[in-house]
Every structure is written in C-alpha cells, then in structure tokens.
C-alpha cells in the first residue's frame, strides 16, 4: 500500500475525528470513545506504513503537496504536506507507540470517571503530533506545535482536582511558551525575509538552496549570519518543547499527569518534537557551516545545550526517589543526547536515537505505570521493593527497557543508537567536550537505572502497598511485551554493519562497515556501561534490611551533593527568585502605573474640572447673580413707588395732566422757545 503526499492529511485527520467523537460522547460512552480512538490510531498506523513505503521508494526526495489556506490582503498563505523518510519514520513510530499506549490506557484508566475525556484528549494529542510531522509549512508546524502543547497541558492537568497537577500543567504550558516565543520570532523573521514558510516548494521553499544561500549570505547584528539567528530562534522552541537546559524544569513536574500520558507525550513523542523540529530545519541550521567569520555556528550552540542537558539530567536522576521523576530526568538527559547528536552534525544519529528511545522509554514508563497501578498509586522507590516476584512480566520488560536505556551491548536497541551518537560526537572537529559529556552520562545512566530497578523489583517489600501488588491484566502487559520486543529487535536496523535506517533516512546510501571500525570508542563505552551497572549493583543491589525510611547510601556518602541533586540543582527556586520575581515586579509596575499614575492624572484633571466648576459657581453666585438680583430689586422698588401714583382716581390723573399742561405752557412762555 502506498500513500502519497497529497493524501497525507488523512493520517492526522483520523485521530482528529476520534477526538471529535470523544468530545461529544457522554461519560457513559466509554467503549465508543476508546474504540474510536484506538481504531483511528490503528488506521493512522496503517496509513503511516503506506507513507513509509512511498517515502522509501525515493528516500532523497522531499515530496510535497501544497495548497492555499487563505488569502490575507495581497498575501496568499500556503501550507502543505511533506512526505520524506523523516516524516514517515516518525509517523510510524508515533502511531505504533501511540496505539500500544492507548491500549495500555484501557487498563490503566479503567476506574477513572473521565475515561472518555481522557481518550478524547489523547486523540487530540495524536492528531496534533501527526499534523506536526506531516506539515510542509513551518506555519502549519507551529499550529500543530502549539496544539500538542495544549494537549499536553490538558493531559498533565487531567487530574485537575489535585492542585499539584493543575500547577504542573500551567508550568509546562508557560515554560514551553517562553521557548515558543523564540520560535515564533524565528518564523516571523523567516517569513518576512523569504515571504513564505513552506519548507519545500519546488525551489522556492525556505529549506531549499536558493533560500539557504540568501539567508547565509546576509549578516545581521553581532556579525551573525541571518540563518544562524533564525536557526537559533527556532532552536529556542526546541529547547522549550524538548525540555533542554535551561527550560527543562517543566518536564519532571509534568509527571503529575496519568502515566500513559507521561509515556506517550513526555517520553516518546511530544518532547521529541523539538529534536524533530531541528532535524526538519537542518538545512537551515547547516547553512552557516561554511562561513568562517561568524561568532558561533548555530549547531555549536545546539551541541552545547544538548551536552549540558545530557549531563544535568543524568546527574539529577541519580538522586530522585519518585519512579516517574527518575524516568523524567532520564528523558531530559536522553533528549540532550539527541540534541548533542544534532549539534555535532549527525541528524540521522539523533533521529535514530529518538526512534529507539521512543520505544524503550515508552516501555519504561508503561512499566512504571504498571507498577504504580499495581501498588495503588505508590510511586516512591523507597516505599516499594520486591515486586519482581509478583510482577514477572512487568519486571522482565522493565529490565529490557533498562538495559536498552543503559546501552547494554549488542542485543539492545539503545546500544546501537547511543553508539551512533557517540561516534558522531567523536568525529566532531570542533570540540571533544560533547564526547566526554556523553561518556560521563553513559555511566550515570547505567547507575541510576540500576538504582531504580533494584529499588522497585528486588529486595523485600517495604510497605503494605508493595507487598500486596500483583500483576496487571493482559491489556496492560501485552503492550509491554510488544514494546520490549521492539526495544530488543529494532536496534538492528541501524547498526554500522547494516545501516538500513541511516541510508534511508538521510537519502544518502551509507556503506556498511564492520562494527569494529572504531573499536576503541566502542570498547570504552561498553566499559563505562559495565562500570555504571556494576557500581549501581554494588551500592544498591546487595542492600539488606532496608525499610522505607532508610537513608540512601549515596546520601550517607556525600550528603551535600546528594541534597543538591535531589533538589534538582535548585533551578525552580532560582527561577522563582529571579524571573518569577521580575514577572511579579513588572506586573506590579504595570498595575501601579495604572492605579497611581494614570488614574491619578485623570483624577487630577477631573479635580481641575471640578475646581473650575466650583470657581464658576462662586463667580455666578457672587458676581453675576447678585448683580442681576440688585438690578431687578431696584426696578421692582421703582415700580412700586410709581404704582402708588396710580391711585385709580380719574380726577387725579386729570389733575396731573392739567398741571403738566400748565408747567409746559409756562416753560414755553418763559423759557423762550421761539
């Protein structure tokens, strides 16, 4: 079966339809909502496989199907679908892992009263994630990018009645939004310069040669190439979404969500979207490589951030006691690995690690979910223990996942992808720091996973909840087994001896070579894995007579360091004290400006108006009105005086007339009017 780029929209459309069905289903329609979600996911998986077949026929081609979304003024906004091996591999992974996690959720969420809502949100997430993968336009990608953020928000806060979950959801949304603003600015800049956000558009796309040459050839402030500036802004989005330093703080808190959510969104797929984004715009990130005069290459920054995150996450994971927090910091660390691989120039290794990580980390999270479900939502390692005997399937699959994550040689997929990353770092000419950091993280990873698995499954049960736990139903263990099989088998598609994935992903045929091509590095890394596992076993594996309140051996050895790591290096407190306070301060400033300054000014004006009114009234009363009053009083007085003459006696009047006559006559006669 084949699926061309034109019909790629069907892949996200199916889960979207399921989400619509789920949103309209009442609480009672559990079967309908879950059935629609799972059926849609399986359908999307089949379609994705078809897309993969199509893409693999011509791995070097970026097949796109563009169309007009809408017009705005003179501008026509075009979006489209893109089919290349990157899209196809990611889509297959997302739909496959997604299907398994959906099925697992049937069991895990069985008792939740908002069961239908859960599947609605999960489907919405899947639709957005798949949309992000198939988008040929960075605008459409951004739309889906934000929608996965929304789904993540809704699912982290799924148990919204818990204040911690509500706070974690908000924190996740806001922290990623900080990165998204960088991404937004990058896209705006790119849009402004290129007039389009289509990745591939028959030569006119932003990731095609003409655009890249123009972008690399323009210099902006600070001597950066324009492509570096835009690339780094886009990378900001990836930092937020993929939990990279310094925006990693939201990811551990996101574990407040139901465990299947953690597995799907915060381990396997969404958090990897940042890695996918950088891989998608890789031509842009690479465009400044040929320039010698720039202060820094975009990819160097990516490598640096990735290296810091890889080490940081692994170190913090050592001192966490919550199963899901350990896994979350492990995810942070592994995402750092992927970024590191991108930075050192091998996006293929990064995507290889991404795909492998998705399977084994989903496995680990679902395993953790199985444990948590069995132990009645007890997820503190110190209060578990001894579950291995009662939960054999979970234990076995969790062990497979652990070994894959730790990179136990040859059999497990994580080994091969990690080797690919380390080799790429080894080959990086700029600096050997990423390689050293990567190797250090290998030891730490092996160590904290040993600590985790011994804490959960070995020893004696330390609480009643752990003692009473029993294996879950097949609907939960089934997905675990399938994922475990993948965690073992899938690594072989990308070994140096048979670089099938590498050849098909990059579109450039990679020649097979012996796995012993660089024996030194491989032996070193195997040695480090063994060291880490051995050290973990030495510290935790043989502990006896521990109970829930025993102090961790590491905390006994180095209490200060352990406390700092357990407190996650104080990032949350630091941000609260700086940015949080700044935020509050600016808000107070804005509010104070309104209340104190602008409102006072208006009040002042109003007072001035009022005052002039008072003045006016006084003037009216005292000067104008009183004047009028006087005048009218005088007139009235005069009138009254005269009215006395109006006696009503006709003879009086006549006498007056006569008198007047005599007076006039005398005046005429004597006054001498001639």
């Amino acid at each position: 079966m084949q699926l061309s780029a034109t019909h790629l929209w069907m892949i996200p459309a199916l889960p979207l339809l399921a989400a619509a069905i789920g949103s309209l289903t009442p609480r009672g329609g559990r079967k309908l909502a879950a059935g629609a979600a799972i059926a849609a996911m399986i359908g999307a998986f089949v379609l994705s496989c078809g897309a993969l077949v199509t893409a693999l026929a011509q791995p070097a081609v970026h097949a796109s199907a563009n169309f007009t979304w809408f017009a705005l003024g003179n501008e026509v906004v075009r979006v489209g679908w893109l089919l290349d091996p990157l899209t196809a591999f990611m889509a297959v992974m997302v739909t496959f892992v997604g299907t398994l996690i959906f099925i697992f959720s049937l069991g895990y969420m069985k008792e939740d009263r908002n069961f239908t809502r859960f599947f609605c949100f999960l489907s919405l997430f899947a639709a957005a994630m798949l949309g992000l993968l198939v988008a040929n336009s960075l605008l459409l990608l951004f739309v889906c990018w934000e929608l996965v953020g929304l789904a993540s928000y809704l699912l982290i806060g799924f148990w919204f009645h818990k204040p911690a979950a509500a706070a974690a959801a908000k924190k996740a949304f806001l922290t990623t939004r900080i990165g998204d603003l960088g991404l937004l600015l990058g896209l705006l800049w790119l849009y402004h310069v290129r007039g389009s956000l289509l990745c591939y558009d028959g030569g006119a796309g932003v990731l095609e040669q003409g655009s890249l040459t123009a972008l690399a050839g323009t210099t902006v402030a600070g001597g950066f190439a324009l492509s570096t500036a835009i690339g780094l802004l886009i990378f900001c989005g990836a930092i937020g979404k993929s939990g990279q330093f310094p925006l990693h703080v939201w990811l551990p808190d996101a574990m407040e969500g139901p465990t299947p959510v953690s597995a799907l969104i915060h381990a396997a797929t969404m958090v990897a979207a940042g890695v996918f984004l950088v891989a998608r715009v890789y031509p842009l990130m690479l465009a400044d490589q040929a320039l010698a005069s720039v202060p820094v290459h975009a990819l160097t920054v990516v490598a640096g951030i990735g290296a810091i995150t890889a080490l940081l996450g692994a170190a913090i994971a050592v001192a966490q006691n919550d199963i899901k927090r350990v896994l979350a910091f492990s995810t942070v660390s592994q995402l750092g690995y992927m970024m590191l691989a991108l930075g050192v120039g091998s996006w293929v290794a990064a995507i290889f690690h991404l795909l492998m990580h998705a399977f084994f980390k989903a496995l680990l999270f679902l395993g953790a979910g199985s444990v948590i479900h069995a132990a009645h939502h007890e997820q503190d390692v110190r209060r578990l223990g001894g579950l291995g005997r009662r939960m054999k399937a979970t234990f076995a699959t969790f062990a497979v996942g652990t070994m894959a994550l730790a990179g136990v040689p040859f059999l497990f997929s994580g080994f091969w992808s990690k080797e690919a990353v380390l080799h790429a770092a080894h080959a990086w000419p700029v600096s050997s720091l990423p390689l050293l950091v990567g190797l250090a993280a290998v030891v730490l990873t092996a160590f904290y996973m040993t600590r985790l698995i011994t804490g959960i499954f070995l020893g004696a049960p330390r609480t009643d909840a752990a003692a009473e736990a029993h294996e879950n139903s097949a609907v939960m263990t089934g997905p675990l087994l399938i994922l475990a099989a993948c965690a073992i088998g899938l690594g072989f598609i990308g070994t140096p001896a048979w670089p099938w994935l590498q050849s098909n992903l990059g579109g450039i045929v990679v020649e097979p070579e012996s796995i012993w091509e660089a024996p030194g590095l491989m032996l070193l890394s195997i040695g480090l894995v063994v060291t880490g596992l051995g050290a973990g076993w030495a510290v935790y594996g043989r502990r006896r007579n521990v109970n829930a309140s025993s102090v961790d051996p590491l905390a006994q050895a180095a209490p200060g360091l352990f406390a700092v790591l357990a407190a996650r290096l104080g990032f949350d407190e630091f941000y609260a004290a700086t940015f949080g306070r700044l935020n509050t301060w600016v808000a107070a400033l804005a509010d104070g400006l309104d209340r104190r300054v602008w409102d006072s000014l208006v009040s002042l004006l109003a007072r001035a108006g009022e005052f002039s009114g008072v003045l006016n009234r006084e003037a009216d009363e005292d000067i104008l009105n009183r004047g009028f009053d006087r005048t009218s009083a005088t007139v009235r007085g005069v009138g009254q005086t005269y009215s006395r003459a109006q006696a009503g006696e006709t003879h009086g009047y006549l006498r007056t007339v006569a008198l007047a006559f005599v007076v006039f006559a005398l005046v005429l006669l004597l006054g001498g009017v001639r």
Partner: protein, 512 residues
C-alpha cells in the same frame, strides 16, 4: 426590490426601542422577546447585506445619500465597505448574545431592552455613517444608554464607573468635535470621502494652515484624543477596567465586543485616510504607546484579583494589537510605501483581530457573568475552585474562549495575532519582539484564571449545588464558541470580505 438596507439596519433597533417604550405594561417575557427579536434584526439584515455585497469593490456600496441640511452641506450618507460589514456582522452576533447573557436579570427588562437597542442602533450608525455630522451624533448617542445601563444595572460601584466612563469619553469627543469644526470651517464639508480626497493631495493641510499655522496639528491632536480615549490607547485606558467590571454582563460583552471596535474603526475611517501625514509623523510615538498597551495591559491583568477586571485588562491588551499594526504600517508609510506583504499582513491581521477579539472577549465576559451569577455576585479570583468538576460543559466552553483569547492556533485568535506579528515584524522588528512579552503575559494570567477557578479541589463559591449550564445560559456561548472553532480553521470566511480593501489600502499607502 430596492430596500434601504443600511437605514433599516440602523433604525430597526431604534424602532424596537420605541416599541418597548410604548408597550408600557408589557410582561417581562414579552419585553425580552421583543428586545431579542429586534436585536436579531441586525444579524438578519446583515446577512441580506452580505448577499448583495461585492468584496471586489473597494469603494462604498449600498450607498444612501440624501441632502439633509443643505445650507451646511450636510448629507444623510450611509454606505459600507468590507470593514463596515465586518463590524456590522460582529454587532449582529454580539448584541443578541449579550442580551441572552443578561436574560435572567430581573430588573425591569423593558427598560433594559430599550436602552440596549438604542445602544445597538447607535453602534451600527457609527459603522455605517459616512458624514461626520450624523456619525458624531451616533458616536455620542451611544454613550447615553451605556451610562444608564451601567449605573442602573451595574455592580456596587457602578455609579462612579459610569460617570467616569461617560465623562472621560465625552471629554475626548469634545476635542474630536472641535477638530472637525475646524475642518469644516476650512473646507466646508465633513463628508469622509471628500475629506479623504482633499487630504490625499494636501489641500486639507493647506486649508487648515490657512486658518493659522498650528491648526493642522491642533486638529489632528484633537481628533486623535477623541478616538484614543474610545479605543482606548494606553494611557487613556483607566476608565475601561472599572466600566467593564461594573457593567452588567451583557453590557460588558457589548462594550468589549463592539464598542471598543468603534474606536479602532474611527482610526481606520477617519485618522487614517484624512490625516495620513500627521499620523505618519506621530506614528513612532503612538507605536510606543500601543506597545505599552500590549505589554502593560497584559502585565496589569496579572495583578487583578477580580475576574472582570482581569478580562477587561486583557481587552486593553488585545485591542492594542490592532493599534500596534495600524501604527506600524503608518510609521512605515511614505514615499515608496512599506513592504507590501508586511503591510497587508498587518492590516488584514488587525481586521481579523477586531472580529476575533470581539468573539473571545465577549465569550469570556459571558463566562465570568455565569460565574458571578452562580456565586451571588462574587467574581474574585479566589472565590472559586474546582468549577470544572462541578460544571464540565461550562468549563469546556470557557476553556475554548480562554485559549482563543491567548491565541492558541486552531482557534480564531491565532490567525489575527500571527499576521499582526508577521506584519509588525516586517515593519518594526523590535516592536514585535517586545510585544511577544504580551503574548507570554496573556498566557500567564489566563491560565492562572483557569487554574484558580476551574482546577483544584472544589472551593469557595463552587462548593455545594453548582449546576452546569442550562437552557438559555448556553445560548450566548455556544454560537460564539462554534465560530471560534470555525474561524480558526477557515479564516477565509472573513478575509474574503476585506482582502481587496486591504490591498487597496496598501496600494494607497505610498503617499508622498
């Protein structure tokens, strides 16, 4: 059939008001129904207008022009273009929704309805009048019903808020009137079209300068002040939070959904075409003010403990985006004109934003109104908790409105905001970068709202019997939310109305 559609549009609500005034003994239910029916006339007539409207024509359509006061060269002159039509449709949506949101308010529905219809008719008059004389009549007339609606049906401090609102706005309008008196003295006409023609070739400035050298500036500042208070432009916004917060729910919806658009409309219809050169000169300064509105509006909202004030501040923030786009375009206009793509994105985005903000802000006020009515008048941020558990449908609808307001892609708010940013970035990059702070702050306070009110354990007023939305409470929210979803995916339903107009504006921007 050649009905005077535009006159009908304006005067139907007024006819309803007169009818309500006559029906002295109407029962409340009858009064409400009559009000709603006449309020819906706008939507029906707007639809009829839409069918006859040709988007390709950039001039005015369905024009009605009759001499009115011939001695003063004043005409009764109605007409509409894409911009007016957009706002007429918005009014047609928001006004009935506002009425439905205040449906349960028991106090004298006949009086309320009559005043509301007068308000609606006046707003439509502002959007359709093309001669300053009666445009200004409509503009001022809209204040009278608002004053009474806020004062008589409003909250605790409604008296003060109503006085402040009306006097502040009238104060601004006085300058506007003064400015136009000078314009009339200089040119002998107050026809918007004729004035624009006069302005385009510099005659207007020359004639005003004839009155005295400083007159062109004085007139511009006067008109600017009048419009800036109405929008409001930072820092002339301090009347807004108390007015919106104290007004009854339906009136708050109308104020934020329609009335704030009257200001932006006046910018586009008056300042933009009639005073292009002074606006261009003042634009850098105004750009900073709009930016302050975006950033400080959002940050100030974070500090509000009253939900209505918070939403009111978000309104300041959102309307400032429109102004940001206008000023950025105006600042970049001039010989050769601004980058056409960026300018048309900014202007188109601003028009979309006007409509979208109308929907989302009205819906948010409606939701706060529901909360308030359930909680017996309380609307503090800390008065609630866990409402989502009690009322999932309400929470869902409110959540969509909220995410639309914070610009989540897939909902209507995003498209407008994205293209405003795209345009402003092309014209004034640093402004766009700083305005991003506003985006973050908006998300921050809206999510705080959502978290405190809807999440967590049930607390405060949400404890006890708290029914979900029922019957008539759903009526205003459902259409608004449905449109948010629809327009988020298909913005062309709106952009199709005004695209040629925007293109025409952009082409006209390259003034000397």
């Amino acid at each position: 059939m050649n009905l005077p559609l535009l006159s009908l549009l304006v005067f139907m609500p007024w006819a309803g008001a007169v009818l309500l005034a006559v029906l002295r003994n109407a029962r409340p239910a009858v009064a409400r129904t009559v009000t709603l029916a006449f309020s819906l006339s706008t939507l029906a007539l707007g639809w009829a207008v839409l069918l006859r409207f040709d988007p390709a024509v950039t001039g005015f359509q369905l024009v009605e022009r009759r001499p009115w006061i011939e001695a003063l060269n004043i005409h009764y002159f109605l007409g509409l273009d894409g911009l007016s039509l957009l706002l007429v449709l918005l009014t047609g949506l928001i006004a009935p929704a506002g009425l439905l949101a205040s449906w349960r308010d028991a106090r004298s529905p006949r009086m309320f309805g009559a005043l509301f219809l007068v308000l609606q008719g006046s707003a439509l008059g502002v959007f359709l009048a093309l001669d300053f004389f009666h445009w200004f009549l409509f503009w001022e007339l809209s204040l009278v019903p608002v004053f009474f609606l806020i004062k008589l049906w409003g909250g605790e401090n409604a008296g003060r808020a109503a006085y402040q609102f009306v006097i502040y706005t009238i104060g601004g309008s006085a300058f506007l009137l003064l400015g136009f008196a000078a314009v009339f003295a200089a040119t002998g006409t107050v026809d918007f079209g004729q004035l624009a023609t006069l302005a385009a070739d510099g005659t207007l400035t020359a004639r005003l300068a004839h009155l005295g050298n400083f007159w062109p500036q004085v007139v511009f500042v006067g008109v600017l002040l009048g419009v800036a208070v109405k929008v409001p432009l930072y820092p002339f916004h301090t009347w807004l939070p108390p007015a919106y917060a104290e007004a009854p729910t339906g009136v708050s919806m109308f104020l934020t959904g329609v009335m704030s658009k009257m200001g932006v409309y006046a910018f586009l219809r008056i300042l933009w075409p009639i005073f292009p050169a002074p606006l261009h000169a003042a634009a850098p300064c105004l750009l900073v003010l709009a930016l302050a509105g975006v950033v400080f509006g959002a940050f100030a909202a974070m500090r509000q403990t009253d939900l209505k004030r918070m939403v009111a501040y978000s309104s300041v923030n959102h309307v400032s985006y429109c102004l940001l786009a206008l000023f950025a375009v105006s600042a970049a206009s001039g010989p050769g004109g601004p980058a056409a793509g960026a300018a048309s994105a900014a202007l188109g985005g601003a028009l979309l934003q006007m409509f979208n903000h109308g929907l989302s802000a009205a819906a948010l006020f409606c939701c706060v109104g529901v909360l308030e009515s359930r909680a017996g008048g309380r609307s503090g941020l800390d008065d609630f908790g866990g409402v989502r558990a009690a009322a999932p449908v309400f929470a869902g609808l409110c959540g969509i409105a909220l995410f639309s307001s914070l610009g989540l892609p897939g909902l209507n708010g995003f498209v407008g905001e994205f293209f405003i940013f795209r345009g402003v970035f092309g014209l004034a990059p640093w402004t766009a970068a700083i305005a991003c702070l506003g985006l973050f702050a908006t998300a921050y306070f809206l999510l705080t709202f959502w978290q405190r009110v809807f999440h967590g354990p049930r607390a405060g007023a949400a404890v006890g019997n708290w029914p979900d939305l029922r019957g008539v409470e759903l009526a205003p929210l459902v259409p608004l939310v449905a449109l948010m979803l629809l327009l988020g995916v298909l913005p062309q339903l709106l952009t199709g109305l005004f695209n040629p107009l925007v293109a025409h504006w952009v082409a006209a921007l390259a003034h000397p």
